[in-house]
């Protein structure tokens, strides 16, 4: 948590000088992947307080007004898709603070004298945002909202009149329609600067990508301003992108001569080719990956030369490549700020195209990747659509130090967990209770989901397994989505490492789960109504028939019948009986009337 705070404080530092910065970090990853981190930050004009900001400057007015009208203190948005391969790529960029879980995630501190008010404003906010970002955030209702979870704490000192709301939509598929408004918020609107690289087709044809927006007010003696930081992290599959670049976006077989074969095999021939694991040599340009080169510097960007980064060099760079000696770079346009073996930074020049080409004959040599301090894997166990279990495995790779984490999980209400069935087991320890604290609020049908938050301690070099059972319930016909048989998504669990020092801070999400609920036959309403009602009527009719009608010996009837002589007589007799019918008989007739 402190980690988060510190990072935001850095951000604040950068923002104190009113202005706009954009940075792009390119980091080749093993197996021909490339991590591209776009980062844009800007802030509004100064004002006595956030509420009286009227001159937004380059800060997008649309957002500013939403935040103001909804009385939001801080707003954070995350869009993410794909799967981050921690074993290959190491820890998430910037300790995962800006990487969201699958789908859309939003949390905000809302001001309000009491909870109800704040909550009302929260729904206002998400509705407004959903319009702004073309995301169905308006579906964040009470069943998907959690209030004041431990895992998040405001980056600016919070006070009693602020409430934290968190909501997520795992089902939401992130795509171009979310990217466009995202880019539109930037001062250069993607026409100039590195934002001109943000082309939906390329960004979303990636192995993993995450967009984040953070709106934070910061106040100093000089006054208050609203800061915004936008980030996009993308892991591209270089080879695939190149193929797409070269010819149609389909895997047309390579010509035989361009196959990379293992000649050492004795059967190797013109028609037998054992493929080499991965292309050792690769050469590509930014324009190959993103479809175009950076066309110019964004004129609205001010570079501030006073600020130095951790390398003791000018932080006002635009584009940095993090590489090793095995790589050689060559640029077109722009100016070189610094060039080491490990990283080379460039800044853009106005009205000048910039392109950077990477070239190596050993793709496996990449700048050292930092390993995540914790691994988590969550999976659904069991069989059938009535009961199931959830198994979460949290592993502490460090051989020396224990870690303590907060694990935060929200389950939809139609998933009924049994806390009493929860078991925790730490590998290598027979009796070690990892659970320090547990916060739990059971679900309430159609009102709220289950909220579970645990503070856990995981000993060094061991893994913790948490598992519990749950029941699946039926929904009303109208509550099923159109594609009910796909299943229902369970939003990712959030794991946050508790640490004092910012560099140890880390937050990561599990992948979302697919929950298969039992489904009715959607074409049945009328049949069911009819059949059930029929059975009920049948029961009613027979029971009341027996209750209200009187008994007679058959022979008596027969005698009567014969006595009356034939049909006419019978009719007469029946008629008479009607008149002289006793209480029961009346009732009987009535009942028959109702039942038939």
């Amino acid at each position: 948590m402190t980690g988060l705070r510190i990072i935001f404080v850095c951000l604040v530092q950068a923002l104190l000088v009113c202005g706009y910065y954009e940075k792009l970090d390119l980091r080749p990853l093993p197996r021909n992947a490339l991590l591209a981190s776009f980062s844009f930050s800007l802030s509004s004009e100064l004002a006595p307080s956030v509420r009286d900001i009227t001159h937004y400057g380059i800060f997008p007015r649309s957002v500013g007004q939403i935040i103001k009208s909804a009385h939001a203190h801080e707003v954070h948005l995350r869009f993410a898709q794909g799967w981050w391969d921690a074993s290959e790529w190491g820890s998430l960029p910037e300790q995962g603070e800006f990487a969201g879980g699958t789908g859309v995630e939003v949390w905000a501190w809302m001001e309000g004298s009491e909870l109800a008010e704040a909550e009302r404003r929260w729904y206002e906010l998400v509705n407004a945002l959903s319009g702004l970002f073309c995301a169905s955030l308006n579906f964040v209702d009470s069943t998907r909202t959690t209030i004041n979870p431990l895992s998040f704490s405001p980056s600016s000192p919070s006070s009693s009149d602020k409430f934290l709301f968190h909501g997520s939509l795992p089902r939401e598929t992130v795509c171009t329609e979310n990217l466009t408004p995202f880019v539109k918020l930037l001062p250069c609107k993607g026409r100039a600067g590195i934002s001109s690289l943000l082309d939906g087709h390329k960004i979303f044809d990636s192995k993993w990508q995450s967009m984040s927006l953070d709106f934070i007010p910061e106040c100093t003696y000089r006054g208050c301003r609203l800061g915004m930081s936008q980030k996009i992290n993308v892991v591209l599959d270089v080879l695939r992108s190149l193929e797409r670049q070269n010819h149609a976006p389909v895997p047309i077989p390579r010509p035989v001569e361009r196959l990379m074969c293992d000649e050492s095999k004795q059967y190797h021939s013109s028609e037998k080719c054992f493929p080499l694991p991965t292309a050792p040599t690769v050469k590509y340009k930014i324009s190959d990956l993103f479809g175009k080169s950076v066309n110019s510097k964004c004129a609205l960007e001010q570079v501030d030369d006073t600020e130095l980064n951790e390398f003791g060099e000018n932080a006002g760079y635009n584009i940095c490549a993090h590489i090793t000696g095995a790589w050689s770079l060559s640029r077109q346009g722009g100016t070189v700020l610094s060039s080491y073996d490990t990283r080379a930074c460039f800044s853009l020049v106005e009205n000048e195209e910039f392109n950077l080409s990477f070239d190596t004959d050993n793709t496996s040599s990449v700048s050292p990747i930092s390993h995540a301090p914790v691994h988590i894997q969550r999976s659904m166990t069991g069989r059938g659509q009535q009961h199931g279990g959830i198994q979460t495995i949290i592993r502490n790779p460090s051989s020396s130090s224990d870690i303590s984490v907060i694990y935060y999980e929200v389950l939809p209400w139609y998933m009924k967990p049994y806390l009493s069935s929860m078991t925790t087991h730490v590998s290598g320890y027979s009796s070690f209770d990892p659970v320090q604290k547990i916060l739990y609020k059971p679900f309430l049908e159609r009102v709220r989901g289950t909220y579970l938050e645990m503070i856990l301690t995981i000993p060094a070099a061991s893994s913790l397994t948490i598992s519990y059972d749950f029941d699946k319930t039926l929904l009303y016909l109208a509550e099923y989505p159109p594609d009910a048989n796909r299943g229902f998504d369970v939003s990712p669990g959030i794991l946050r490492v508790i640490s004092s020092s910012p560099e140890d801070a880390y937050v990561m999400r599990t992948s979302s789960l697919l929950l298969a609920l039992p489904t009715p036959d959607f074409s049945m309403p009328y049949n069911v109504i009819i059949l059930t009602s029929t059975v009920m009527a049948l029961v009613f009719g027979t029971v009341f028939n027996i209750l209200v009608r009187r008994f007679v010996y058959e022979e008596d009837i027969e005698r009567e019948y014969r006595g009356r002589g034939g049909f006419k007589g019978r009719l007469k007799e029946l008629f008479k009986r009607k008149k002289s019918a006793n209480e029961d008989d009346k009732k009987a007739k009535k009942i028959e009337g109702t039942t038939t």
Binding site: R383, G384, Q385, Q386, H387, W413, K416, Y418, L419, S420, S421, I438, Y440, K441, P442, F443, L444, E445, R446, D471, T473, L474, L475, Y476, L477, A478, P518, T519, P520, D521, M524, P525, V528, I529, L531, T532, V535, M536, L538, V539, F540, T542, V543, F544, N545, I546, L547, V548, R549, R550, F551, V552, Y553, E554, E555, I557
Partner: protein
């Protein structure tokens, strides 16, 4: 004397059987507890444990959708846990308690059969009656599933047994039963006849007041448990009344309310509740001379008309019918209804399996079987009702004469 010995042997055998199964297959409790035919939201032992767990944690079990049973049960099992240290479904304490409860039920049944309402009637030997209850697969399964319905059942039987001996106890038992299983309220009218055969108004008033007082007292219990709020009423009785917890069972409700259009749901909720209520008075009135059979029949009706029925109820119903051997002269469809019920009982798990686990069948399969089951129960119900009325008609003097209803 020999009679008594046999009865004793039956009970011992029953206890041994239960113990053997519980020791032999410790997992069976969990498996049966998950059978929707055997346990429901209002009787599931797993949910009871969850409720207790939450209560221990300081989270109100009533503020949430997981626990829909009476507050009293939490207290009972907390005490049990405190006393023995474990309420695992196969732990000794639970085994003992549930065996005792079942044997009590059987004993009450035997007692009832010896009460004067059966005097001078042809009836089965008491050990037969006990056996029919104790070795009824439905009863055994319900017991092994640790369904909490066993508690309300034993209370109802106790209420019947004491109805003619000690009104006071009987009233208390019925109140407790109603606290655990709200549908027991339906039994009040016939019980009124049992309590005050003279139909003296004062007497009736007293008993009713006493009943209300006892029921209220128990309700307060929940009030204090959920920290001075009547929140629990919503989660305990509200769920039963408004059927908010939608889980398949052998009843008529679940699929209907799953498929019905939202705008009509409240209306039909009322209609269904009314439907289960509407039988009470007519049956009571018609069977004034046989109040006990009125109780049995009302239990039989609620079998199909209540929101969360379970097979254990059928077990009790059959056992109670076994007290009435003398009416079987006039039962007509025994074979038919037996076959229908058996087929329903066998096919229900099968179709459920097809729907939930294999995915090759759909919900309609299980629904269809629940309808068949309802019809089977109706057959028994109407057949026995007719039989007893037939006896009442001519005191069973001329069994060979054919009788019709007009």
């Amino acid at each position: 004397m020999d009679e008594q010995k046999r009865l004793l042997n039956v009970c011992i055998a029953a206890v041994l059987l239960r113990a053997a199964i519980s020791i032999g297959f410790p997992a069976i409790h969990g498996i049966l507890d998950q059978r929707v035919e055997l346990t429901t939201a209002s009787t599931s032992f797993k949910q009871l444990r969850e409720g207790l767990h939450l209560y221990r944690m300081g989270v109100s079990p009533f503020d949430g959708g997981v626990y829909h049973q009476a507050p009293l049960l939490i207290l009972i099992f907390q005490a049990l846990d405190g006393f023995y240290g474990s309420i695992a479904p196969n732990s000794l304490a639970i085994n003992v308690v549930y065996c005792v409860l079942d044997v009590l039920c059987a004993w009450f049944l035997v007692q009832i059969s010896t009460s004067e309402s059966f005097s001078g009637r042809k009836k089965l030997d008491s050990w037969n009656i006990a056996a029919i209850y104790l070795f009824n697969p439905l009863v055994i399964a319900t017991n092994l599933a640790r369904s909490t319905a066993v508690f309300s059942n034993v209370l109802i039987l106790a209420a019947i047994r004491f109805a003619t001996y000690s009104q006071f106890l009987s009233v208390l038992f019925l109140a407790a039963a109603s606290h655990l299983n709200i549908y027991a309220v339906y039994l009040v009218p016939p019980f009124m006849i049992l309590w005050s055969p003279t139909k003296a108004f004062s007497n009736c008033a007293v008993t009713v007041l006493l009943y209300a007082a006892a029921f209220g007292g128990l309700s307060l219990l929940g009030y204090f448990m959920s920290g001075g709020s009547f929140q629990y009423i919503k989660s305990t009785y509200g769920t039963l009344l408004f059927f908010s917890d939608l889980v398949p069972n052998m009843g008529l409700w679940w699929y209907f309310f799953m498929e019905i259009f939202d705008s009509f749901r409240p209306l039909f909720t009322y209609i269904f509740q009314l439907y289960s209520l509407i039988y009470v008075l007519p049956i009571t009135i018609r069977l004034q001379k046989e109040p006990l059979f009125a109780i049995v029949s009302i239990l039989g009706v609620t079998l199909i008309s209540k929101a969360y029925p379970e097979l254990g109820d059928l077990g009790i119903y059959i056992s109670l019918l076994s007290l009435y051997q003398h009416i079987f002269t006039n039962v007509r469809y025994a074979l038919l209804s037996a076959l229908v019920i058996i087929h329903a009982l066998v096919l229900a798990p099968n179709f459920y399996h097809l729907w939930i686990y294999l995915g090759s069948g759909n919900a309609n399969f299980f629904y269809a079987i629940s309808l068949v089951y309802a019809i089977g129960v109706t057959l028994i119900l109407t057949d026995t009702l007719r039989a007893i009325l037939r006896i009442e008609f001519d005191g069973g003097e001329e069994p060979q004469k054919v009788v019709v209803q007009i």
